[in-house]
């Protein structure tokens, strides 16, 4: 699988990572070599093998429906890059 610049930018967009033109070649190169290396998996016959989706042996980990007060608003906003005492603030979302 070869990733070209267009595919690279599509992935970068999905991942919300700015990928300036100057960084494209390096990223593309390392992605392509890692992907080629990963493709060795195609050598393994996995017909009829079920994917391993859960590594824990537990099932039915459930919680009682009880409110347990946690952090205050002040604490919640404490780490925020921008807030106004009530809300977290971000550049306006254009609908």
């Amino acid at each position: 699988m070869k990733i070209d610049k267009e595919a690279l930018q599509k992935i970068a967009h999905l991942a919300r990572l700015e990928m300036p033109a100057s960084t494209e070649d390096e990223m593309m190169g390392s992605l392509n070599s890692v992907l080629t290396w990963m493709e060795e998996l195609n050598e393994v016959d996995t017909a009829d093998i079920k994917p391993l989706t859960h590594m824990s042996l537990e099932v039915n980990a459930l919680r009682e429906d009880k409110v347990i007060p946690n952090i205050s608003r002040e604490q919640g906003l404490k780490n925020a890059p921008k807030q106004d005492g009530e809300y977290f603030r971000v550049p306006k979302v254009i609908e």
Binding site: L14, R63, I68, G76, K92
Partner: protein, 485 residues
């Protein structure tokens, strides 16, 4: 729109209904899920997506979803797990939503809707559990959007119908039924204005009889049944006109503007999002046991159609009454309870639909807050049926007292206020004989045709009885007596 053109097309509608489950705490965190708190006061590190946090599933959310499945006649999935739906938005704290993509909790099922053309079952494709996002507010004049995470993590069930709704009427009826149902089940308050119940409408048109669906348009986050209807009506016309004119329908998400009644395309072209679903590794699978299913089954209330059946068949009520009474679970239960203490089911119905409903409306109360118990209401009904008081006395004089004095029985109130009617025929007869004996001339006039004098005699009898004479019985007896003279 020209009806001839309209009839060339059929409309295909599918709804995705989101209902917020009214649990105390959120689906994956123990902060409060209640509505209306000051911004960002119902939060926790889990809700804010802090690094190092992990989700833990709320048992009640699972039970509530199963209840909906039972009510809809769905199959409850025995083995389920959760998936991550990955996308970026400020109100989505983790950058992914935990949902059920591959193994929804309920498969199939449906809801019966009554249409002008008859009854129809709108089928569900499935119902799944997921978490709600926070809220972003975009205020005019601000360059920022404001984010409130109170709602983030509230449990949701998403109910996806098959694309077999054919009209705005059907969609409206369906939403009405779903709203009634979730309120019956006590799993969601169905408050659309507050957003506890909302839906996305997927709509397309195609020539009648076509096997190929037209291009689908989505209208998101509709929170009013009236607006859903209007939006659909508008879209139907818009899409048919476009197709007729040879204009391609763009597959997009559109907004509905209630003030204009129109939908419009979103300004920013929504590129198809790749959600990169994969199994949620921080949650373990659910194995739904027989025991759990039985436990939830025993907690199920009687459903609207079951009560409708009972009210019409067992209590012999007309469809109209049964319909009104089963509109809400609390009213239906109140009525049913009343019927345990009186056999006059119709009277109970009339009282609840009439006097009680007016009283509740005037005082902005719900029936759960009515201070008169079903048993007491039945006693009042029986009192009227025994002829002890008239209906008007009951509603105008006794009922108001019962509301405030919850200890006294209707009989006690009637006695205390001297309202008991005299309907003993012997007593009444002697009163009648007295009055007639005192007015021989009037009796003769009556016999000669002045029938209006009946009222005068009645007036005297009522006075003599200090108002306690049962008017109906008295009138009949008086009439009889006069005829025999």
């Amino acid at each position: 729109m020209n009806q001839e053109i309209r009839n060339k097309y059929e409309v295909v509608i599918g709804l995705e209904v989101h209902a917020q489950l009214q649990t105390e705490s959120k689906i994956f965190a123990a902060d409060s899920a209640s509505f209306g708190a000051a911004p960002n006061t119902h939060i926790s590190p889990i809700t804010l997506g802090h690094p190092g946090t992990l989700p833990k599933l709320n048992r009640k959310a699972v039970e509530y979803a199963i209840k909906m499945g039972f009510a809809a006649g769905s199959k409850i999935s025995e083995y389920q797990y959760f998936d991550r739906k990955n996308y970026f938005y400020p109100d989505l704290p983790k950058g992914y939503q935990i949902t059920q993509d591959k193994t929804p909790i309920c498969i199939g099922g449906g809801v019966k809707v009554k249409l002008s053309t008859g009854e129809k079952v709108v089928r569900f494709h499935h119902i799944h559990l997921e978490e709600d996002a926070g809220k972003s507010l975009h205020a005019e004049g601000l360059s920022d959007s404001l984010i409130d995470y109170n709602r983030a993590g509230t449990p949701l069930i998403e109910m996806v119908t098959e694309p077999e709704i054919k009209s705005s009427e059907e969609a409206a009826q369906f939403m009405t039924e779903v709203r009634k149902l979730v309120r019956y089940l006590h799993i969601c308050d169905g408050n659309m204005e507050e957003g506890s119940l909302r839906c996305d409408v997927n709509i397309s048109v195609m020539p009648v009889g076509s096997k190929v669906f037209g291009t689908k348009v989505e209208i998101k986050n509709m929170n009013s049944i009236r607006f859903i209807q209007k939006a659909i009506d508008y879209e139907v016309v818009r899409q048919i006109e476009a197709v007729e004119a040879g204009v391609k329908i763009i597959q997009e998400t559109r907004n509905f503007d209630p003030s204009t009644g129109r939908t419009s395309g979103m300004r920013e072209k929504e590129s198809m999002n790749d959600y990169r679903y994969f199994p949620e590794p921080d949650l373990v699978p659910l194995h739904i046991s027989e025991e759990l299913l039985i436990q939830v089954k025993t907690q199920m209330p009687a459903l609207p159609w079951e009560l409708f059946e009972k009210f019409t068949k067992t209590y012999g009520l007309p469809d109209y009454d049964a319909g009104v009474l089963t509109d809400s679970r609390e009213v239906a239960e109140y009525f049913d309870a009343t019927c345990q203490f009186t056999k006059n089911y119709k009277a109970a119905s009339n009282w609840i639909m009439g006097t009680i409903k007016s009283y509740l409306n005037d005082n902005h109360l719900e029936i759960e807050q009515l201070t008169i118990t079903p048993e007491k209401l039945a006693q009042l009904i029986n009192l009227v049926d025994e002829g002890k008081v008239s209906t008007s006395t009951a509603s105008q004089q006794i009922f108001p007292v019962m509301v405030t004095d919850t200890s006294a029985s209707p009989l006690q109130i009637a006695e205390a206020k001297n309202l008991i009617q005299q309907s003993n025929t012997d007593t009444l007869q002697s009163l009648i004989d007295e009055v007639l004996a005192a007015n021989p001339a009037k009796v003769k006039e009556y016999k000669n045709g002045k029938k209006g004098l009946l009222g005068m005699f009645m007036g005297d009898i009522m006075k003599k009885s200090k108002g306690s004479a049962d008017p109906k019985v008295t009138t009949a007896l008086l009439q009889k007596t006069l005829d025999s003279l």
